[in-house]
């Protein structure tokens, strides 16, 4: 990024009316590895790419269970994410203790956003360098929110954050209209496809990604590696034909659930660089 003379302090405005420190914090989110979320009327799926530092180390945890009905995926400074997850867990548990009822997701997200805003208005603090995809289920349905370091939050049908998230967003933008009516399994498949987009040709295996689901009748749970691998195999093996155009893929996708994404995925593999990089 370019150097500015108004970027030393979070409490200094630039003449253009920007807080550069906050914007730099949002850059930190873009440096983290990708995390995506998508929702239907009854389920929300979170998925993220886990890059380990080296072959010797384990990968960082990017998905946290906050409560039975809320989970969060982070991108950016993992340490900040961990601290915020702890805060969220604490809020949920306190609400549950007083009211014997799950904390509505919208309220948790507002509390989180207010907490982030404080850090943008104190000279002795810095903004949190982590973006959070909050997935939750409450009385009013399934929700997916994105919390920025700036203290803003938005609700999404589907979203992706982190490095190379644009590829995933493009994929999601094509598919999001059918998400509300998707089944749980279709949602997970779409999540895995979106993750694969961010990998830009690298092989998608269960060691590289993590998937978590929350929905009606299903508490927030992180799928184990075997399940994820079998799902990956399921859609990578079937569907060898390349679709000629996207409209064909969409039409067949309407009827045959997983067929269109399979074709789309196969096409991408054939056209992209060789798998063994």
């Amino acid at each position: 990024m370019f150097r500015n003379q108004y970027d030393t302090d979070v409490t200094t405005w630039s003449p253009a009316g920007r807080l550069f420190q906050v914007e730099y914090a949002m850059e930190a989110v873009k440096q983290g590895s990708a995390a995506i979320g998508l929702r239907s009327k009854t389920h929300v799926v979170l998925a993220c790419v886990n890059k380990a530092n080296s072959e010797l180390s384990s990968h960082q945890r990017k998905i946290f269970k906050v409560d039975d009905h809320i989970g969060v995926a982070i991108a950016g400074l993992t340490a900040d994410g961990r601290v915020l997850s702890r805060y969220m867990r604490s809020e949920c548990i306190n609400y549950g203790y007083t009211y014997e009822s799950p904390l509505p997701v919208g309220r948790l997200v507002v509390q989180l956003a207010d907490k982030a805003q404080v850090c943008t208005q104190r000279s002795w603090k810095r903004p949190y360098g982590v973006g959070l995809l909050v997935a939750g289920l409450d009385e009013s349905g399934a929700h997916l929110y994105y919390n920025c370091p700036s203290g803003n939050y938005f609700e999404y049908q589907a979203f992706a954050i982190g490095s190379r998230s644009q590829a995933a967003k493009t994929y999601l933008e094509r598919k999001f209209e059918k998400f509300p009516e998707s089944s749980r399994d279709d949602l997970v498949k779409d999540a895995l496809f979106a993750i694969r987009e961010t990998l830009q040709g690298e092989k998608l295996t269960s060691t590289v990604c993590t998937v978590a689901v929350i929905g009606v009748g299903e508490v927030f749970n992180i799928l184990d590696q075997k399940t994820v691998q079998s799902l990956i195999n399921e859609f990578e093996i079937s569907g060898e034909e390349a679709p000629t155009n996207e409209s064909a893929a969409e039409q067949s996708g309407g009827d045959a659930g997983g067929a269109a994404p399979d074709q789309g995925g196969a096409a991408a593999e054939e056209e992209a660089a060789p798998m063994d990089i």
């Binding site: 007083t98 009211y99 014997e100 509505p104 309220r107 409450d138």
Partner: protein, 338 residues
């Protein structure tokens, strides 16, 4: 040197021994220091040690032997005596604060008669039942002052938010306090301005926490509460007592209602009572209470809460029958009695 802890002030008593003089003169410097500040503020006043020790009636020799270490309590006594003497002109605000706070914090363990010991103006039973469309609750409008029925228009059934209804027996002033807590709770819930709202289950649990915490401080809110409501088609009826005992059931009652009304309800309550049947059942229980509970008055309200909303009826009376032979001629069989 050591520290006396007041509530807000740290009293640091440092004694300085002045330079070598024949007669050892010590000065006690009393400073006040806020709990959280690290640097001591300027001394409130310097007290001549001699005069302090005069209070202790110690001889000059003892200055040296005592040195700086006093027993905590005795020093406190010194300070109290000293400060109360010097209170007027020399010291101003701080010393007053110091002395009074020392007194309250260190000396008194009694004097906290701000706790609830017994109730004064009380309401009697509340009965609540679930019926087909929601919850029905009944309570009379009496407020008794001991054995006197002092107030006869006390509303003991109140709405809470969009989905709940509360009925209280016990101390009326504590009920009013609870209504204030609930008012604030609902206000903050509304201020979120999202689609969510607290339902009867949440309010019931909140009240349980409040009652239980007060009980733990030995300062209970002297009430037994009935909390009912409907949210998203789910009916809820629960009860909390003044010690925090809480449960949920198809029919609940407080006070005498437990003994006189619940047996009737156990026999005659059904899952799918209509509104009219429910009201008749409640009136049967209330009539029983009216005959047998001395603090009951014949002026009651019945409240209904359903998914659509809440209505509390206008006060009305039950028809009672007193035409028993024994009442007509009470002294028959015992001539001379009245």
């Amino acid at each position: 040197m050591y520290t006396l802890l007041g509530e807000e002030l740290n009293l640091q008593i440092t004694s300085h021994f002045h330079s070598s003089q024949q007669k050892l003169r010590s000065t006690i410097v009393i400073t006040s220091r806020g709990c959280r500040s690290s640097k001591p503020s300027s001394p409130i006043f310097r007290v001549d040690c001699e005069s302090v020790f005069d209070l202790l009636k110690l001889s000059t020799v003892d200055y040296q032997s005592l040195g700086i270490s006093y027993h905590a309590m005795s020093c406190h006594v010194i300070m109290k005596k000293f400060l109360s003497r010097k209170q007027s002109e020399e010291n101003g605000v701080f010393a007053d604060m110091v002395s009074s706070q020392n007194e309250s914090s260190l000396l008194s363990s009694e004097g906290d008669s701000q706790r609830t010991q017994y109730p004064y103006v009380t309401g009697t039973s509340v009965i609540g039942i679930k019926y087909k469309d929601g919850i029905l609750m009944a309570a009379d409008m009496g407020g008794s002052y001991g054995s006197t029925i002092r107030y006869k228009s006390v509303e003991r059934l109140k709405q809470v938010g969009k989905h709940s209804l509360i009925g209280a027996s016990g101390e009326i002033s504590d009920f009013q306090e609870i209504l204030r807590y609930l008012d604030e709770l609902i206000l903050h819930d509304n201020m979120w301005d999202d689609g969510n709202s607290l339902g009867p289950k949440e309010v019931h649990n909140y009240l349980t926490r409040v009652m239980y915490n007060r009980r733990n401080k030995f300062d209970p809110l002297w009430n037994s509460l009935v909390l009912g409501g409907v949210k998203n088609g789910q009916k809820y009826l629960g009860s909390v007592s003044m010690i925090g005992v809480h449960f949920e059931d198809d029919h609940v009652a407080t006070g005498f209602g437990n003994h006189l009304a619940r047996p009737i309800l156990r026999e005659e309550w059904r899952e799918d009572l209509t509104f009219e049947e429910g009201v008749k059942l409640l009136e049967k229980c209330m009539r029983n209470l009216l005959y047998r509970d001395r603090s009951a008055v014949n002026k009651l309200q019945i409240a209904k809460i359903t998914e659509e909303g809440l209505t509390i009826s206008e006060p009305y009376s039950l028809k009672t029958y007193w035409n028993f032979a024994a009442f007509k001629n009470p002294t028959v069989g015992a001539e001379g009695s009245w």
